[in-house]
Amino acid sequence: MIITQALIYSLLAHDMWVDDALVLHYGHMQMNHSHGDEKEIKKEEISKVFCSSGSNVFEIETKELKAECDTLFIVLNEAYYTKTPYGTKRQSKDKTKMAISSFKSIESVKRINKDNSKQIFNKGLELSLTNKLSSIEVGDKARLLVTYDGRARAGVSVAYADKVRGVSDRDGRINIRIQKAGLQNIKASLTLKDDGIKSDEIIHSSTLNIKVLK
């Protein structure tokens, strides 16, 4: 539970986003929150990139983020974190001496650019829009669907503007009111139990980027 809470706070503390130049960033989208730890996420840290264009959905083997994608979905490499009396190690529990607890982190980022494109890629935790992107203005709600491996998922924490706004309902739905124009960063977090060998928990976190113009 402590690890879960810590990760949720971490989720709130840092952003991942795909900017207009199709660069994937880690850090603080609002620079006034910055600790100076912003960085570009390189291809080596990315596990898979998926693209949807109209009704076509495909994996981009080169991991290039392409402008012609109506929706981009990026899954980062999995990472293990194990807490020990002498600090947190970035390795699995079975390879760590004096492990106290551990988790596997699976993170993803989705950027939706157009209406009517296929948004759900059936890969772990995802946030998708159920209303039209082009109709959303500041003050409107982004009506979201939370899925896990393509199926609606209840009870997933969703954060926006540095605050947990609620959890998805029994149909996986949750609504977030857009506060400011520009690129939006909406984050979801789901913790599942693992077998305790490599890690105790698997923590999925997924970010949705949409751009609201006015």
């Binding site: 709600k141 924490s157 969703v158 605050k163 947990v164 706004r165 609620g166 959890v167 998805s168 309902d169 029994r170 949750i174 609504n175 977030i176 009111r177």
Partner: protein
């Protein structure tokens, strides 16, 4: 006949908010809940609510002699509620009252049992039933409830004095016949420390024939309540929250009908101001408030000692726990 305050206590108790704060994942957040004004909350699906309200009324007396003027009353309301789903809740209330005069005469006992059914709605690109789960952003939508209540005549409406004569109908511990009430409420939480709440309700009574053959139909009642709630303090980690409330409670009482004619010294209209506070911890809450008659326009003002609007004050306490 004086229309006594049990009617007010019963009806506001029936329809008043039950004091369960909205507690979100992020901590103690969501709309505030006044004491007398009904907020637009429904009980979570499958949850049980235990509720207690105590209302102590102290009346102004017109003379210093012991001449049978109403002095004070204590009303206790025990309630149990159940959330059948996210938008429909039902309650049962058992009231108990003690009413004392300055000549040491008093009546007490369980009053008529009452039942209340509440339907919750909200406006989110259209009117809809209250959903099972809402984000903090959804909680800022306008929420509404509509409710229907009725009482059954389980109390005693034919209590007698030692000489065998009937106690005044207003002092009985039952109406003798069912009563019915319809209500509407609206709530707007602004997403910060402020909440605006309002409600209207209409309450009507059937004519009762007493054991001595006399007939009484209590006057209909109309209420309009408005309230603002301000969150003074919150500690999300421990789910502790303190709210200040200020309410304005308008009440219009129709004239009672006795044996087919309008009864003297009954009815009128009044406004109470009710400052109060609510302390919430997890899903338990206690609230206190003082209800002050601020403006009155009673039908026979000088003859209505002991009626609504003629209090020095009413001190109100509620406790509720969601199980």
């Amino acid at each position: 006949m004086k229309k006594i305050s049990i009617l007010l206590a019963l009806c506001t108790g029936l329809f008043a908010h039950h004091g369960v704060p909205s507690i979100s994942l992020a901590g103690v957040e969501g709309p505030g809940a006044p004491l007398e004004t009904t907020s637009s909350s429904t009980l979570p699906e499958g949850s049980l609510l235990a509720y207690l309200k105590v209302d102590h009324a102290k009346y102004k007396t017109y003379t210093s002699t012991r001449d049978g003027e109403a002095e004070s009353s204590e009303y206790f309301m025990y309630g149990l509620g159940y959330g059948f789903n996210s938008y429909f809740s039902a309650y049962v209330f058992v009231p108990y009252y003690i009413k004392s005069q300055d000549d040491a005469f008093s009546t007490s006992g369980f009053h008529d049992i009452s039942f209340q059914f509440v339907l919750g709605m909200k406006y989110d690109d259209g009117l809809m039933l209250t959903p099972s789960s809402e984000s903090l952003d959804d909680m800022q939508d306008w929420h509404f409830t509509t409710s229907f209540s009725f009482t059954l005549p389980t109390g005693n409406s034919n209590a007698t004095m030692p000489d065998g004569s009937l106690i005044d109908a207003g002092m009985q511990t039952g109406f003798g016949e069912p009563s019915f009430m319809l209500g509407l409420s609206a709530t707007k939480w602004f997403g910060n420390d402020w909440t605006l709440v309002g409600d209207v309700s209409y309450n009507t009574f059937l004519e009762n024939t007493y054991s001595d053959g006399s007939k009484v139909r209590f006057g209909d009642e109309f209420r309009l309540n408005t309230a603002i709630s301000y969150m003074l303090y919150s500690k999300p980690a421990s789910k502790l929250r303190l709210d200040f409330n200020m309410e304005a409670n308008y009440l219009h009482l129709g004239r009672d009908i006795e044996n087919g004619s309008g009864a003297n010294a009954t009815g009128g209209e009044m406004i109470y101001l009710t400052p109060g506070a609510r302390l919430s911890y997890k899903t338990t809450s206690v609230a206190v408030g003082v209800k002050l008659p601020t403006w009155t326009n009673l039908n026979e003002e000088d003859l209505q000692q002991g009626a609504e609007g003629k209090e020095d004050y009413r001190l109100i306490f509620t406790f509720s726990a969601l199980l």
